[in-house]
């Protein structure tokens, strides 16, 4: 199960014509493990949504090498979901088996065992029958991680997966990510913790709407690049005219 590379060719993603990701080119190699970092409003979530197939580029080309969007596992920020919904943990985790089970088929014993396994892996053993309304924010995030585990996807997109999660569970979940990496899956994760990124992620994309640097983590997370990323104006320019740059601006720092 070797996924195709995800190739971006001068991609611009915009809301109301204002660019959220501006002239981004590069590729996520098969089996790579990349952290996406940048200030608030830098376009990180927008980029993940485009990779997941939820958004179309306003300009440029995003080539997923024919990969079906159903084969992409996407962990959105947990805040988007209604945690008062009357569902139990096992019911939410089981959604991860949608591709295998579809709309109608009952789950067999082996699949039920996989759900139990996934819950155990994220530290939620014994939570199967608990209503999701009783979970803490961190526990709910782990539950979404279990659902992602069950999707068994060759490409995984994670949006701030460790927000509100304690350090022990974060360590466990990073173990899961590293196992996936070892299995040759492509992983793209939006993160804020630079120490964690340096320790765990071989590659990093530093984004401040426009790309600042993309490559080996040690090369990307240099003080001068981080300082440039911080200079990004967070507000849109309400008076901006049409963009006349055909290619990446400012020039992408070529990290080795």
């Amino acid at each position: 199960m070797i996924p195709p590379p995800l190739v971006l060719d001068n991609v611009t993603l915009a809301y109301d014509r204002h660019p959220a990701v501006h002239h981004l080119s590069g590729r996520f190699a098969p089996g790579s493990m990349t952290a996406v970092v940048g200030p608030n409003g830098a376009g990180k979530t927008t980029l993940l949504r485009a990779l997941a197939g939820e958004l179309r580029p306003d300009e440029g080309r995003l080539d997923r090498g024919g990969l079906d969007s159903r084969a992409i596992g996407y962990l959105p920020q947990a805040t988007a979901l209604d945690r008062a919904f009357p569902l139990t943990c096992v019911e939410v985790a089981a959604m991860g088996l949608w591709r295998a089970a579809g709309a109608f088929r009952a789950l067999d014993g082996r699949e039920r065992a996989r759900i139990e396994d996934a819950l155990r892996t994220v530290g939620l053993a014994g939570f199967a029958r608990r209503p999701i309304g009783t979970l803490s924010a961190g526990q709910f995030q782990r539950l979404l991680f279990a659902r992602l585990l069950l999707q068994d996807a060759p490409v995984l997109l994670l949006d701030e997966p460790f927000t509100a999660i304690d350090s022990r569970t974060t360590a466990d979940l990073i173990g899961v990510l590293q196992r996936w990496h070892g299995e040759g899956r492509t992983i793209v994760a939006v993160l804020h913790d630079l120490e964690l990124i340096r320790a765990v992620f071989p590659d990093t994309l530093l984004l401040a709407r426009s790309p600042i640097a993309w490559g080996r983590t040690a090369e990307v997370l240099r003080p001068e690049s981080l300082a440039r990323a911080r200079l990004m104006a967070e507000a849109w320019d309400e008076t901006a005219g049409p963009c006349t740059h055909g290619e990446a601006v400012p020039p992408l720092a070529q990290a080795a």
Binding site: A52, G53, E54, D68, S69, R70, I72, Y74, P76, A80, L81, D82, F85, P86, L87, T88, E91, V92, M95, W98, R99, A103, F104, P131, G133
Partner: protein
């Protein structure tokens, strides 16, 4: 004595059987509408059905088939129009529904007033147990059966679509199709119920028990079952109240359901006033 009307009158038995059938199919739809934060859509569709029913009656007289077909058509039209309006992005779906249902209600009353057919507006809006003839009973039973079977089939995608529509879309689960199918069931149930309960009050059988169920169970399945039980109790009691107190069936059933809602809000097992007030000793772990 209290039950005499049911023993003495066939029309009461028909109304009871028909509304009991709908008490099994409409409340589960209400539970899903509430979870989708579309509680008002039932109201809007209830109003929307009226002009269709009125046109059916004006053109073909008081024929059940014509009125039901008209109601079904009008309900689906308003549902699709509001969806299309909200997709233009200028208005949220609930705002466009609020506009559309007022127009539909006004149009319905105007058509009824203008038509030569002797249609009683109050009866259309609030229902009459006398309206349930054999054909209406058949429509109600068929609707209930179709709804329950459809819900059983679409349960999993509907739950996922309601909880996390983005996830289902990403997995290629055709979320919009399930949602549309679900709304067709909503319209169908409202149309089937209007003879007995009226176009406005039919929504009550769908929504009020579903609201009450929130105080009975913490799980979706539990809420569906308890909403049905509450609706059945409301239908049974409401029809008897309607007969003895001589009020239209629709309001009697909805008010009975409202009393049950109040009861579980005060003393139900989940999050009721009583449950929150009673401090039970905490557990060891």
């Amino acid at each position: 004595m209290l039950l005499d009307p049911l023993l003495d009158f066939a029309f009461m038995r028909r109304a009871l059987v028909g509304t009991l059938a709908l008490a099994l199919s409409a409340p589960p739809l209400g539970v899903f509408l509430i979870q989708r934060r579309l509680a008002l859509i039932g109201d809007a569709l209830g109003h929307a059905i009226l002009p269709g029913v009125a046109v059916g009656a004006a053109l073909f007289g008081l024929s059940l088939a014509a009125m039901s077909a008209g109601g079904m058509f009008a309900g689906l039209a308003v549902m699709l129009a509001s969806g299309a309006l909200s997709r233009t992005g200028a208005l949220a779906e609930d705002a466009s529904l609020a506009g559309l249902y007022l127009i539909a209600l006004a149009l319905g009353v105007a058509i009824v007033s203008l038509s030569s057919a002797q249609v009683d507006v109050l009866q259309l809006l609030f229902g009459s147990v006398l309206g349930v003839d054999d054909d209406a009973l058949l429509l109600m039973a068929t609707t209930a059966t179709l709804t329950l079977v459809s819900l059983a089939i679409m349960w999993r995608p509907l739950v996922i679509e309601t909880f996390d529509s983005g996830f289902l879309r990403a997995k290629g689960g055709r979320g919009a199709a399930w949602h549309l199918g679900f709304l067709v069931l909503v319209v169908l149930n409202l149309v089937a119920a209007f003879q007995a309960l009226g176009t406005l009050m039919a929504v009550g059988l769908m929504m009020v028990p579903a609201l009450a169920a929130r105080f009975v169970s913490a799980t979706l399945g539990g809420r569906v079952v308890s909403a049905c039980l509450i609706a059945m109790a409301a239908v049974f009691t409401g029809l008897l109240v309607s007969f003895h107190a001589d009020v239209p069936a629709g309001p009697a059933v909805v008010l009975t359901a409202a009393v049950l809602w109040l009861a579980v809000m005060v003393a139900g097992p989940e999050g009721s006033l009583l449950a929150r007030t009673l401090r039970r000793p905490h557990l060891a772990g």
